[in-house]
Symmetry: C2
Subunit: 375 residues, 2 copies
């Protein structure tokens, strides 16, 4: 068994489920911290366990280049290499490859430069699966083509066509019992999303993702396409919205039946000084925190909030101390996991709609704007 | 009671003792990790506890400038501020202040620039104690004058004279029941060391430190003066060799009866890629570690060695991942604490001389050179 639905809320499409992998189960909806280079930046696997992380994401593009999937295979796979024994999802590298301007795509594959040294690499859909199998990830993603949110209809139509061809090649190349998820593209065009969803869900993948959102399209398009596309996805398989995102976007997407999320935002913003609270985000740089001896969020049970004050974090930030990154990352990830756990509980108790209301009330702002506050 | 000797080895001056402070006891000989800005760089207090750290050092000079001792006092003291509930020793700032070229010294005090913004500050011996009392440290250090290891006799003689005057002012200003240690100066000149030792040990301090070593003098002078000065220090009070140091220097100094040490080397060198092992230091940058799936040191019980390989550390180092700093620091500090614990056990079992032999044999190199190997 790969997927079991525990509860579907009646007033929205929100649902609570379990995903089964070789390295353990994942209660959904869940947020996956991003560990691009086989580490969630600045935190140890032990800290992730303590925060309640169930699954992390690593990136095929980066690991293929450094240290190379051969090294990781020799190490006994990604889990042994990075010391994380829970589930790992590996992104195929599609997003990274196609966000590089000098990438050249043919039907055969993609020619792309290394971000490390500019050297050229050619990768096919089969290569992508082979690399992910060498990494030994629990959930592999197909190699897809991810156009920018502002791409033309013709450009996106071409991307959809190749994405389907590549998806089929990925599915037939797969040799392991790792899970493999297909990716639905189609940009901001509903007919292309419909076509992509039909073609991709017609292949026997273990789960399905929405790609090509949060890549530069406007907020209204994001909501329209996320909502439309999620409605086209099978009910009995995991649904993953790639690269999303902001807490308010995640709450809306859970309402539309999405199960899995990933985004660099909580970790990256932590390092940049932005800390998440139920009342909105705060900037730790601000002088008003110099003598504030409260934790980031009263009642938060993370190691940071239980032991350190805003004043201390402000000091660490301004003195460029490495401990700042660790503590801030712990808190922002705890915020995300607590949010997801609250949603899971609300769904189980059939009060997700009420939770959604209270989420917006507690932030007391337009949900699309809350993470601009206090910065 | 401030100090209790547990055991004195018979063949050397090495001794095992306990120092009692408001925040707990310290088994000596012990190494104090340096937490200059109220954090041991890149590690949490919980990690320090796990490594076995008994006492950390913080720096009055830095904390006076940022965030200011007033802020830390309002926070409830340094322990609450930084989340470390064990003993803390605060350096007076003497070493930092006198290593800045533009510092101007009068008998009244020192005029020195901020490393953060160049602003001018004037500090007296009384200020230094007042600031350390605001910080609430367990062991305070007197404000002293620390000339470079290459300073002339006349220059060092002047420094000794003012250091004694300031030591008396520090002792009479002290209002708290924090411990206060005097500092013996005198550079590489035995008669000045003798004079300083007589004058400083004539004041009723809770312990005594050797300052002005490892500040540019040659290795022979270091050993000669360390050995000579430690012989001038009271037997019944803690002896602290400031800013030292290399494992081999620590082993030699323990043999001469030193109880406490501090140095940025294990933490700073960890960040620069140098990892300590019983066979000498290694540079994690080296390509030979790319596919080495052993821990830094087999048998080491630190979180890093129990969970991660040289290959992974090499990857983290070369990809500039923040987790590298944390893991490398954990290991190097564990190495130091394990070394100190081995010495304490050897002293208790009256086999310190044998330990000292085996220490040099295991490194299989000139003890003064071992930490240049593999770099």
């Amino acid at each position: 068994m790969i997927f079991k639905i525990i509860k579907e809320e009646t007033k929205t499409r929100a649902r609570c489920a379990t995903v089964f992998t070789k390295h353990g189960t994942i209660d959904t909806p869940e947020f996956m911290p991003v560990g691009t280079q086989a580490t969630v930046k600045s935190v140890t696997p032990a800290m992730l366990k303590e925060i309640g992380t169930q699954i992390i994401l690593a990136n095929t593009y980066h690991l293929y280049l450094k240290p190379g999937s051969k090294v990781i295979k020799k190490a006994g796979g990604l889990h042994k290499f990075c010391g994380w024994d829970g589930p790992i999802l590996t992104d195929s590298g599609g997003f990274q490859i196609f966000s590089l301007k000098s990438t050249k795509i043919t039907e055969e594959g993609a020619l792309f430069p290394s971000i490390f040294d500019g050297s050229s690499h050619f990768i096919t859909p089969e290569d992508s699966i082979r690399i992910q199998e060498e990494l030994g990830s629990d959930i592999m993603m197909v190699l897809d083509i991810c156009p920018a949110g502002t791409a033309s209809y013709m450009h996106v139509a071409d991307a959809v066509e190749i994405t389907t061809k590549w998806a089929k090649r990925c599915a037939s190349y797969k040799k392991s019992n790792n899970l493999l998820f297909g990716i639905i593209q189609g940009g901001i065009y509903e007919d292309l999303r419909l076509r992509s969803a039909k073609e991709i869900t017609g292949i026997d993948f273990d789960g399905f993702a929405i790609g090509g959102l949060s890549v530069g399209e406007n907020k209204a398009d994001f909501h329209r396409i996320m909502s439309y596309t999620s409605g086209l996805m099978p009910q009995n398989k995991p649904r993953y919205l790639m690269g999303v995102g902001k807490p308010s976007d995640i709450v809306e997407s859970v309402a539309m039946g999405i199960d899995l999320f990933d985004c660099v935002m909580p970790t990256r913003n932590a390092r940049n000084g932005q800390l998440f609270t139920k009342g909105g985000a705060i900037s730790i740089k601000n002088a008003r925190f110099t003598e504030n001896f409260n934790p980031i969020e009263t009642g938060c049970n993370c190691y940071c909030c239980k032991n350190f004050t805003l004043s201390y974090l402000n000091h660490l930030y301004h003195t460029h101390e490495l401990l700042y990154y660790t503590l801030a990352t712990i808190h922002n990830l705890q915020y995300m996991h607590d949010l997801m756990a609250e949603m899971r509980n609300a769904i189980k108790e059939n009060r997700f709609s009420e939770f959604r209301e209270s989420f917006y009330n507690s932030t007391n702002q337009d949900p699309n704007e809350i993470y601009r506050s206090g910065i």
